[in-house]
């Protein structure tokens, strides 16, 4: 039944010093539909590809607002993500209540990291089967963090997790140096372009399956998190299409106008 004797639980090291249960949990993240995050000096953007179980069912939410200054995008077990997002909402609210301060991003990210780590060291628990991208703004500016089931959290310039996310990461790596000079809208477009890279031949981005979230600072003023879903994404997708066709005409991958 098992691949070997060392993958029954998260409290057993393999002879190589690996913890297979944690590695398998990372696989669950790859089963989830893709989400992309990117950040520059003024904004942090999350975009996600929503899936529906069947034609007539609703789409699974991919981006969850935690507070007005922060949101997460999820890939993997959505119910695990809900546990984590509820915890994050509580912590964020707690910080506003006791200090009157929006919780700093690195704080809340290391808190969920610590929680996830506990699940990998104690018998009877299992690692979370979800990966998160945490985007938000605090006193130190916009941030993007990646959270993994192992409890590893890393601050990223850009990131993509979920099914076929490698294509998006390749796009992000290739365009990484452009993000800092980007406007808010251009950054969103880069996110959508990265997301589009992951689609298989027969799929495309539509108002039904696309989610976009933005948070940032403009001229020193914090801009609350805004989520675009459904018809709100129509305008964004239209711009994407224009840029792509303009790009195709110029026979170039680059779509900066």
């Amino acid at each position: 039944m098992f691949r070997n004797n060392y993958d029954n639980d998260a409290v057993t090291f393999s002879p190589q010093g690996r913890i297979f249960q944690v590695e398998y949990a990372q696989e669950a993240v790859k089963q989830g539909s893709v989400v992309v995050g990117l950040v520059n000096k003024t904004h942090a953007v999350l975009v996600g590809l929503k899936r529906n179980a069947e034609e007539l069912s609703s789409y699974q939410k991919k981006i969850i607002e935690i507070d007005s200054h922060m949101a997460i995008a999820i890939a993997g077990l959505a119910s695990d993500a809900r546990v984590l997002s509820n915890f994050m909402k509580q912590q964020s609210l707690g910080s506003k209540m006791t200090y009157g301060r929006p919780i700093p991003l690195d704080r809340i990210v290391s808190q969920i990291g610590d929680r996830a780590q506990t699940n990998t060291q104690h018998y009877g628990k299992r690692p979370y089967g979800v990966g998160l991208l945490v985007a938000g703004v605090d006193e130190a500016g916009p941030h993007l963090f990646e959270f993994q089931p192992s409890g590893l959290t890393q601050e990223m310039a850009a990131c993509a997790i979920g099914a076929r996310s490698q294509m998006a990461r390749t796009y992000l790596e290739r365009n990484l140096d452009k993000f800092d000079g980007c406007s808010r809208d251009e950054l969103i477009q880069h996110g959508l372009s990265a997301l589009k890279e992951t689609l298989s031949q027969d799929k495309e981005l539509t108002v039904d399956n696309t989610s976009v979230g933005v948070v940032g600072v403009t001229n020193g003023k914090k801009e609350s998190f805004k989520l675009y879903e459904g018809q709100d994404t129509a305008a964004l997708l239209e711009v994407l299409e224009q840029r792509e066709s303009a790009g195709a005409e110029a026979e170039s991958m680059e779509v900066d106008s």
């Binding site: 200090y99 301060r101 690195d106 704080r107 605090d138 006193e139 130190a140 500016g141």
Partner: protein
């Protein structure tokens, strides 16, 4: 005395009557601090153009006894906030340790997310309110000085009940009665902050401390004064009230050893 050990050292029942155990009641309501023991008196603070100035004297009184004369009642938090404590000194020490542990925790995060004075005031007021709601108050009245999230000068008070109050100039304890009128005269209502210089603010505090030393019997002429600006905190803890004149005392009649 008889041979029963439990009776040794007890007054003899046959002489004094049976011991009345009701005097040793351990049941009944649990009592917490219901009055302060060693106390500091007034704290005075003034906002000015670009910062806040705050001052206290260096005395801790035990009742009417001037018990400790080198007590630092201004405590810094990070490099942009300061708390001035009036009231119970041991509760102040407790809060100081609390602030120290918060400061250590804050510094675990990378720079740029330090709690500002406004955050600190919000927190301290919650601590006071929680403790008074448990009928175990921290017997202090504090002023918090520094900057708010927008970088504007911040000055606000919180007391043992969790009451908060904010104004361009504030004073606690005896100072609330004696210093505030002086400050209101110097800086009338509606006077824009831009017109108050740092020198004016510091001078006003010194004047207040002098009057307080004249009239507050729980005060002393050694004081601490701090100025918080964007550049950081300038804290002086060993100052002496200058230019005292007790001539006015001659005119005060009706107490003490005076015979006329």
């Amino acid at each position: 005395m008889n041979h029963f050990p439990e009776a040794w050292g007890r007054p003899r029942n046959d002489v004094y009557g049976a011991y009345d155990h009701s005097y040793l009641q351990t049941t009944g309501p649990k009592a917490h601090t219901s009055s302060p023991a060693v106390t500091g008196t007034s704290v005075v603070g003034v906002k000015f153009n670009g910062g806040v100035a705050i001052a206290t004297d260096n005395l801790a009184s035990y009742g009417s006894l001037a018990r400790f004369s080198d007590v630092k009642r201004l405590r810094t938090f990070g490099d942009k906030a300061i708390v001035g404590f009036g009231g119970d000194v041991s509760d102040m020490q407790y809060l100081d340790r609390l602030l120290a542990s918060m400061d250590i925790n804050e510094n675990y995060s990378p720079r740029g997310n330090m709690l500002n004075a406004k955050n600190l005031h919000t927190y301290l007021a919650k601590v006071f309110y929680k403790r008074r709601s448990e009928f175990n108050p921290l017997w202090n009245h504090v002023l918090v000085a520094g900057f708010d999230g927008e970088g504007e000068p911040f000055l606000s008070s919180a007391d043992l009940l969790g009451t908060t109050f904010s104004a361009p100039h504030l004073a606690t304890g005896f100072g609330a009665h004696l210093a505030v009128p002086i400050l209101r005269r110097k800086f009338p209502e509606g006077m824009p902050l831009e017109e108050i210089s740092q020198e004016d603010a510091v001078q006003a505090l010194k004047d207040c401390l002098k009057v307080l030393f004249y009239r507050d019997a729980r005060s002393i002429d050694k004081y601490s004064i701090a100025v918080v600006t964007k550049d950081g905190i300038d804290l002086k803890e060993d100052e002496q009230i200058q230019g005292q004149s007790w001539a006015f005392a001659e005119r005060i009649k009706g107490y003490g050893a005076q015979t006329v």
